[in-house]
């Protein structure tokens, strides 16, 4: 489908829909909570004091703006377009996730909530939330699948050191999907004093829009930085997509610049047709999970299927509703990369640029193998380097 719509891109609508996707598919008990959140968020969004505090923390505490780095040796390696990296790996805690955690913690404080809960897969969102809670002295409980706690032991230790309680989730597949179920169950039970900090652009309205807006600083900085460096807009944007928060924050300010080709890379796992994949948009179909309507990996009976990826952060059978909409609009192209291809990209980026990317991030870099031959000298590719790979060293070593 190509985009014929000439109206400015302005989603979600008042019901929380991005085209056909999104909404608030939650139990009645949570409706008052998400209504209160929406009201407070809309006020905060237009409140100069809130914005000043948020951006102040992004600068002083997170270390923004993050740099835009010219990848000279990677560019030489492919010998085509210039490659730039948006360095979210340089954010405090090692990935973009902290932008959103800070934003939501500020909101929680505004709403007088004292107890913070979060879900985490790779542990990056858990660490970011634990960090923000430590900074503001809030109680923090992080739900994490038992399986992920083994894969990401280092992040479990970090969260505990930061004062968070990490609760092991043993239901279902014991990964991110089940950690999210448990976090929602906690929220249903403790809705009065608890604020649920969702870690991606998923969940019921207003989360997908709110989380996007907390991350759009990535794309806005990139716009300015590429103008300073090259005096022109990029030709291609590339980011990995699990739930899709780094990608949407990076893409969103560029959506109206129709000449830019925007590409999201999902985790193909062992291959999209192997039955062991996390390529939700490529392989899934529309359905409802965790409060919103979007693409899902599901069985013929509508049961959610287990995702698989070498990267715990992409190991999720759903995707943010805005990505589903951008896919249907034809504005963003979504492809997938296998575990093995992602590992090759980890090695290449480490050797050529001295940057060890997170396994999630490596999926975006791996697509350069397919994209670069199509590009030409004089063009610009920007990859969102969403996180650093220290947390993945165990998995990386096992797969070298």
């Amino acid at each position: 489908m190509t985009q014929t719509n000439t109206k400015p891109y302005n989603f979600p609508d008042a019901r929380g829909y991005f085209g056909s996707y999104g909404g608030k598919f939650v139990p009645e008990i949570l409706i008052p909570a998400i209504q209160a959140l929406e009201q407070e968020y809309l006020k905060a969004k237009d409140d100069p004091e809130f914005q000043k505090e948020f951006h102040g923390l992004l600068k002083e505490y997170v270390g923004r703006p993050t740099e835009l780095t010219f990848a000279n040796r990677l560019t030489e390696h492919y010998g085509k377009a210039k490659i730039y990296l948006k360095r979210e790996d340089l954010c405090h805690t090692g990935a973009h996730k902290i932008n959103n955690a800070i934003g939501q913690v500020l909101l929680a404080r505004r709403m007088g909530k004292t107890r913070i809960i979060a879900e985490t897969g790779a542990g990056q969102h858990g660490v970011a939330t634990a960090t923000a809670c430590a900074k503001f002295g809030l109680d923090c409980i992080v739900y994490m699948g038992e399986e992920d706690m083994v894969r990401q032991k280092l992040n479990v230790d970090r969260m505990e050191l930061l004062g968070a309680e990490v609760r092991s989730v043993t239901s279902g597949s014991r990964t991110l999907k089940d950690a999210t179920n448990e976090a929602i169950r906690d929220w249903v039970t403790n809705v009065d004093d608890t604020f649920y900090i969702i870690g991606s652009v998923v969940g019921p309205h207003p989360y997908p829009a709110m989380v996007r807006n907390f991350h759009e600083v990535i794309g806005k900085e990139t716009q300015r930085q590429i103008q300073e460096a090259e005096g022109k807009s990029p030709n291609y944007l590339l980011a990995c997509v699990g739930g899709g928060s780094n990608a949407i924050g990076f893409f969103y300010p560029f959506i109206e610049e129709k000449s830019i080709r925007i590409i999201g890379i999902e985790a193909g796992g062992l291959g999209v047709d192997s039955g062991k994949t996390a390529a939700t948009i490529t392989k899934g179909s529309p359905g409802v999970l965790h409060g919103s309507l979007s693409y899902l990996l599901q069985s013929k009976e509508g049961q959610i299927e287990l995702a698989h990826s070498i990267s715990a952060g992409l190991d999720y059978p759903g995707v943010g509703p805005e990505h589903a909409h951008l896919k249907d609009l034809g504005r963003v192209d979504y492809y997938s990369i296998t575990d093995a291809e992602a590992m090759e990209a980890v090695k290449l980026l480490s050797k050529k640029e001295g940057i060890i990317p997170a396994l999630e991030t490596a999926h975006a870099f791996a697509w350069l193998e397919k994209l670069m031959p199509e590009t030409s000298e004089g063009e610009i590719v920007i990859v969102n380097c969403s996180g650093r790979g220290d947390k993945d060293m165990k998995t990386i070593s096992e797969n070298l």
Partner: protein
């Protein structure tokens, strides 16, 4: 008048109706029809037949377990329709299908409603469809004469209670406490429930009200449903099935539990 409305119409003033929740395909595929018929003989007035889902985010460990088991047993939507059809050859007990929207959406909403009507389903309870999202299914439900039953909780505003009353048909499902499904200590629930039911009674005038969550004995039911038209038992029944199955006389033991829920020991 549909079967749900009829059962409330025929209710004696001081009695309470008992609605029982059973996950279809739990504890095994063959048992569901017999269990429903046995529940009816032992005092059940309405059956909520659960359509299992892999990610039941409003349910506690008990219904997570029964859903998991049913899915592992291989239950499909067509099996569930077959079960209802078999019950209908022998019984007119109102049957409400209860479950999350995704399997319904995946089956095809119109096709689902048509089939449900054909086999004799009376209504639908879909906990992850709040009033705001009702439009996804309401027209098809109306077209195929399925009552939509919405839920209200202690933190539901007066205004929303009125909306739930307007949108519901058959009864309104009152969730006694904020939390996931599961048996609780009766006292924990009855402490706060009276004020809630008072508010429910002020705002809900078109439909009878059934109250659920946390009821596990006849005494709980008496306390908690004092000012309601009836009560719903789910997790406590599933727990009872779990503890009896597959021992000798397991069905008999379960039916005697059901009898005691309704009538006391």
């Amino acid at each position: 008048m549909n079967r749900i409305q009829k059962v409330f119409e025929e209710k004696e003033t001081d009695s309470k109706l008992m609605s029982l929740f059973l996950t279809a395909g739990f504890p095994d595929l063959d048992a569901t029809v017999d269990l429903i018929l046995g529940f009816e003989k032992n005092g059940a007035d309405i059956i909520e037949l659960g359509m299992p889902f892999s990610d039941p985010l409003a349910d506690g460990p008990t219904i997570q377990y029964s859903s998991d088991t049913a899915i592992k047993n291989g239950v499909t939507m067509n099996h569930i329709f077959d079960m209802v059809q078999k019950v209908r050859t022998q019984s007119d007990i109102p049957i409400v299908l209860m479950g999350y929207i995704n399997p319904v959406l995946h089956y095809g909403i119109e096709k689902f409603c048509q089939k449900a009507n054909e086999v004799g389903v009376d209504g639908l309870i879909i906990p992850d469809i709040p009033i705001e999202e009702g439009s996804i299914i309401e027209n098809d439900a109306r077209e195929y004469e399925l009552s939509m039953i919405y839920l209200v909780a202690p933190n539901t505003t007066d205004e929303r209670m009125k909306q739930a009353d307007e949108k519901s048909e058959g009864f309104v499902y009152c969730v006694s406490v904020t939390g996931v499904t599961g048996a609780r200590e009766g006292e924990e629930v009855s402490k706060s429930v009276n004020r809630f039911i008072e508010r429910v009674r002020q705002n809900i005038n078109h439909n009878p009200v059934m109250i659920g969550f946390g009821i596990k004995t006849h005494e709980d039911a008496n306390d908690i449903a004092l000012n309601a038209d009836g009560f719903i038992v789910g997790s406590a029944l599933i727990d009872n099935i779990k503890s009896n199955y597959p021992g000798d006389d397991w069905k008999k033991n379960i039916f005697s539990f059901v009898h005691s829920l309704k009538y006391g020991d």
